[in-house]
């Protein structure tokens, strides 16, 4: 006597990817489906190049068909829970710093994948080049500082001014890459951007100048750059010009 095709069994569905066996789900199926499952698994094992995702989807379609059939004959005494197999997506398992380090020598194919994963701009190695036309938000990200919107302890009319000073400090931290300048060290050059004040009320970058043993009262070591190029990057960036303008005027 043959097996009862409607007898139910529980099977565990797993797949092997790159040598790792991964459980997908448990299924409660009839013997007829179990037979098909076994055939499918045999086929997968026999042909490792088979498209596993497609096979599993076909398997589910068969199960769906069988489920409807059983339901029609009121033979279902259980609820079958199906879980869609997880898509085996490819991923780039690199940190941004690792990606930046490997980018210059990467193949074009890898470069395009890194561009897609991290964004082309984030992978520019030269920080000053990266920040040339960056937004203030990007300066905050580069410096790792939190963006704040209020300094409630101070008088309200000064909020905009103090927040602009904070923006300015963060901008310099970003281009200085964590290097802290000391005004008491007279051998270190401290660079700053100088501006032409235009009659329109806006500013225009003029020149980067440095100090060693003198400081202007508007100077602050937190508002000084480690190089002329760093000061120039800030001085020419439109978003930074806006901040400097706010520091001057607000």
């Amino acid at each position: 006597m043959g097996k009862d095709n409607n007898e139910l069994s529980t099977i565990e569905v797993s797949i092997q990817m790159d040598g790792v066996i991964q459980k997908i789900t448990n299924l409660v199926v009839s013997n007829s489906i179990l037979e098909k499952v076994n055939k499918t698994i045999s086929r997968i094992e026999a042909d490792r190049k088979a498209n596993i995702e497609k096979e599993i989807k076909q398997l589910y379609k068969q199960i769906d068909k069988d489920y409807k059939l059983l339901k029609d004959f009121n033979l279902m005494t259980f609820k079958m829970k199906k879980t869609e197999p997880e898509t085996q997506s490819q991923s780039l398992d690199f940190t941004l710093q690792e990606a930046i380090a490997m980018y210059p020598s990467a193949s074009e194919a890898l470069k395009s994948k890194l561009d897609a994963a991290f964004g082309k701009k984030a992978l520019i190695t030269d920080v000053l080049e990266r920040l040339k036309d960056a937004s203030i938000e990007e300066f905050y990200q580069e410096a790792g500082r939190p963006r704040i919107t209020s300094v409630s302890e101070l008088p309200e009319d000064l909020h905009e001014y103090i927040l602009s000073v904070y923006d300015g400090i963060v901008m310099y931290e970003a281009v200085n890459q964590g290097q802290r300048l000391s005004y008491l060290d007279t051998t270190t050059r401290k660079y700053q951007a100088w501006f032409n004040l235009l009659s329109s009320g806006s500013v225009d970058f003029y020149v980067s100048l440095c100090h060693c043993s003198l400081a202007h009262a508007g100077d602050a070591s937190r508002l000084s750059a480690v190089s002329a190029k760093a000061a120039e990057t800030l001085g020419k960036n439109p978003a930074c010009q806006n901040v400097f303008q706010n520091i001057m005027n607000k």
Binding site: L197, A220, M248
Partner: protein
């Protein structure tokens, strides 16, 4: 009654009274390592504001006005690690990135006095 001059002011606390600004100890929203420099900005601003107020101006100096002289002090660093007042000079049509109209003095003579009553504030501003 003799009109009060900025050179009559003896310390920073008096500047806060003249400028009618509250004494603030910290700004909690800003990362704590930056509190000293932000507080120095605030104090230096209050000092300049009190000086300019005693000169009859309730408005901060205006960078958009090239005819108005904005006086700033220049400091020099001593081998002892401290700072000393060097010279005062004004800007009209150029400004360095850290300049702020709120830190400018409308009168040259007030600049040196500001440093004399609060050298620590100016030093904190530059070094913290």
């Amino acid at each position: 009654m003799k009109k009060k001059k900025f050179t009559d002011i003896k310390d920073v606390n008096e500047c806060f009274e003249v400028a009618e600004r509250p004494v603030v100890e910290s700004v909690d929203q800003i990362p704590s390592d930056l509190h000293p420099v932000i507080m120095a900005f605030y104090k230096e601003m209050v000092i300049a504001e009190s000086a300019n107020k005693l000169k009859g101006s309730d408005q901060k100096p205006d960078w958009r006005n090239p005819n108005q002289k904005k006086w700033f002090g220049w400091l020099r660093f001593l081998s002892s690690g401290s700072v000393d007042f060097y010279v005062s000079r004004y800007d009209c049509s150029f400004a360095v990135a850290g300049d702020a109209s709120r830190l400018a003095f409308l009168d040259e003579s007030d600049v040196r006095h500001a440093f004399n009553i609060a050298p620590d504030v100016f030093e904190d501003f530059l070094t913290k």
